[in-house]
Amino acid sequence: MQLLPFTFKRLPGGRFLVVNQSGEYAFLNLDKFNRLLSGKRDVMSDDYLDFKAKHLVASDDADLAIELLATKLRTRKAYLTSFTTLHMMVVTARCNCFCDYCHASSLDPEKRDVDMTWEIARKTVDMIFQSPAPSIKIEFQGGEPLLNWDIVKESVLYAKHVNRYAKRELDFVICTNMVLVNDEVIEFCKKHGVMFSTSLDGPKDLHDSHRKSRDGTSSYERFEHNLALVRQRMGQNACGALLTVTKDHLPRLREVIDHYIELGFSGVFLRALNPYGYAVTNFNSIGYSTGQFVSAFKDSLDYIIRLNLEGKPFIEYYTALLLQRILTPFSTGFVDLQSLSGAGISGVIYDYNGEVYPADEARMLSRMGDKKFLMGHVLTHSYEYMFNGSVIRDLVHNSCVEVMPGCATCAYQLYCGSDPIRYYVETGDTVGRRPDSGFCIKNRGIFDYLFELIEQGDEDILNLFWSWVTRRSLGDVRLENS
């Protein structure tokens, strides 16, 4: 008998989580764990057969086990083969709001010199179509992209024109605070299949106190009004929302979730503050420790689970993503949590001035004065220069968790990813230091909790998790009454 590579983690209560090289896991007590390590072969024992079925050990079938493991790993990493799918265009750095956590450090709406010009927009779209990806998503960002609506429209039309020959699966998303949405915008988005992505910070008082509009009016009222308009014309699911959690939210997350449900959202993405932009300058008033966030996240998840089991379907999207990685053999394309890091090779951002960065965070960093991750400029550099250049190469070399210090032996390795830009902000180099990285503490905390729930094995909760993973209703997943 031979051991196949695996990672493990000691769990509370003297138990062990063991994960093989393709992400299959087992919970073992100390006794079984020792038996696995001892390598003693008792051919017909249940343990031995369990270990073998999960590709933790092999005997004379090692060739087959390794081929299956390799296939599964390849499947898990399949997102790498399509290369850059997500292309973000910052059509302006201006915004009609000044949210106290704005990672992008938005600027005053009167500063028109931070709008993307048509020349740069056209070159950007040309650059986007040089990506070999079979499906391309163009995401319009800001600032507030509706402040430069003409360029958004022109870019959509031009991209569709180019795509008549390029023939990619082409999607558009506009990330907007909804304040400036009007009939013309909706008509255009409906006609050209542009989906809305927005932010909702909870009930009116929370939303307005963090998502402040520059003219002093309530951004919530416009949001609510325009959300209804968009849904009326384009359907209930035309608009997804993101929640940025500040200190004020921590004690009120259940209320925020209720509000999401009240407004008819099918789920929420609970996003922690990241160390960029105004979130850094305003840390004292809105910040919290990562530990506090993890506790609040767990509490919210408990609450969401309870709501679902009471018959109110609602998804926490980050949990759904992590569960997909834990429970299924499939590949998941989420650029912010990949190994290799998705920066540049899965997603890329084109700034209003033509500068290209591997991630939103790198663009935010440049706004804070550090252009370390500048890949090039759409007007002066070639696709090859930018995507095969030193910035991307360094990121790729330094963002593979399988060989990174602190990650290489982590049991969550295959479900997790790296954030080299965040590490750089935290420690001054892209490899970073794991034990005290906020990124690591957050994800580790969430993984700990998900595995705790999985090990507890409550059938209702497992069915709910599977319903999120397979995108079916709870009733469809259950054996009975479906």
């Binding site: 393709s22 299959e24 051919v43 017909m44 057969l49 369990d50 073998k52 079925a53 079938d61 060739d63 087959l64 081929e67 299956l68 296939t71 599964k72 299924t328 053999p329 499939f330 497992l462 069915n463 599977w466 397979t470 079916r472 997943v477 054996l479 009975e480």
Partner: protein
């Protein structure tokens, strides 16, 4: 296959032909077996006659007499073989969508619960199958054909020929190829087979999630590795694969682990069929070592089905009557036993779900002792 017993006259070698029903004795061809209650005094060129009367002595016509009931069970267009002992084998039922072609009796596995008696000789029924297929009419209306054995892939040329014939003769037919998948571990062989007919689903058994248990059931070391490699080759060709699990004493306790193994390693399977055992053939001989009453594995079965269903895998239960299943599993139970060997026991008369139930094997030497009206 469906077999009928009759009294032969003037039959010295097996006769294969297609049934034509009616009184006429005119314009018959050399492929026709006339089925008629009234034996004609003479016929033109017909191969033989199936009748309900006693045929008269002195008549040189090849004939076989059967009961009224058996006579009516034969249909216009059926392809039958009349043997010298008077048995009539229905090789192709014109009214059925469950016809099967037996490529060979030989098998390169030796499963301890095989419901057949396999042959030691590597011999295909190539000529017979060619003859049967040439006799079948209205090929464009055929929706489904099973190809089975023995192990059909061991007679590769014969199998390829059948697959190609099916492609041209039955353009709309979905083919289920029942194979242990071992030959498909050779990429070149797999390519020949998948190229021969695009409408083929490959129905491949996996009995356990490790080589230890699987090979012990299959009786040939190395089978697990070959079968899995064969399945991966089919996946490379993007061909639909159905995985079949027969539940016996040796594997039912590890069904849950097998479900997870299939999902993790073969998520491309379009269908998983979990099957009750047919206790005939070798399974009948080995009955005491392989038998487990389905009633006794209800819990394991429910867990296995639940795990696959949760994972959004398309799972069915074959060969098990409703009374042996927890109610929650009824919607997964399919009527999978071919008409000619499906039976309802006497106690089933009063059952209120008989209509939905797939019955049990008439061919089995042991039935569950828990078959009881619901």
């Amino acid at each position: 296959m469906k077999t009928v017993k009759g009294a032969p006259r003037n039959i010295s070698t097996p006769i294969i032909g297609r049934i034509k029903k009616g009184d006429t004795s005119l314009s018959l061809g050399k492929d026709i077996i006339l089925a008629t209650p009234n034996v004609p005094r003479w016929t033109f060129g017909t191969l033989a006659v199936v009748t309900t009367q006693d045929t008269k002595k002195g008549n040189s016509l090849a004939s076989v007499s059967v009961t009224e009931e058996d006579f009516h069970s034969l249909n216009e267009g059926d392809v039958i073989r009349i043997n010298p002992n008077g048995s009539i084998e229905v090789m192709w039922e014109s009214t059925s969508q469950q016809n099967a072609i037996f490529v060979t009796d030989f098998c390169n596995s030796a499963c301890i619960m095989c419901p057949q008696k396999t042959s030691d000789k590597l011999k295909s029924y190539s000529e017979l199958n060619k003859r049967i297929l040439s006799l079948v009419q209205n090929g464009e209306t055929v929706e489904h054909i099973g190809i089975t054995g023995g192990e059909p892939t061991v007679c590769l040329d014969s199998l390829i020929e059948i697959l190609s014939t099916c492609k041209s003769k039955f353009p709309k037919a979905a083919i289920s190829l029942l194979t242990n998948g071992k030959s498909l571990s050779d990429f070149a062989v797999a390519r020949r087979i998948v190229d021969a007919n695009p409408n083929t689903t490959y129905c491949v058994p996996i009995y356990a999630p490790t080589d230890v248990d699987h090979d012990a059931i299959v009786g040939v070391p190395g089978s697990f590795q070959q079968t899995i490699t064969g399945l991966y080759n089919l996946a490379r060709f993007m061909r639909p694969v159905e995985i079949r699990i027969v539940l016996i004493k040796q594997n039912y306790q590890r069904l849950e682990a097998l479900a997870e193994f299939i999902y993790r390693n073969m998520p491309f399977a379009i269908h998983i069929a979990i099957m009750g055992m047919e206790t005939s053939g070798i399974a009948g001989d080995n009955l005491d070592s392989v038998w487990v009453d389905p009633k006794d594995y209800q819990q394991e079965l429910q867990k296995g089905v639940a795990e696959l269903h949760r994972r959004n895998m398309n799972v069915s239960i074959y060969n098990l009557p409703h009374c042996l299943l927890p109610k929650a599993l009824w919607k997964f139970a399919r009527s999978s036993i071919s008409g000619w060997k499906k039976v309802y026991l006497s106690q089933c008369e009063n059952c209120c779900v008989k209509e939905d139930c797939g019955g049990t094997f008439a061919t089995s030497v042991r039935q569950s002792s828990y078959i009881t009206p619901v």
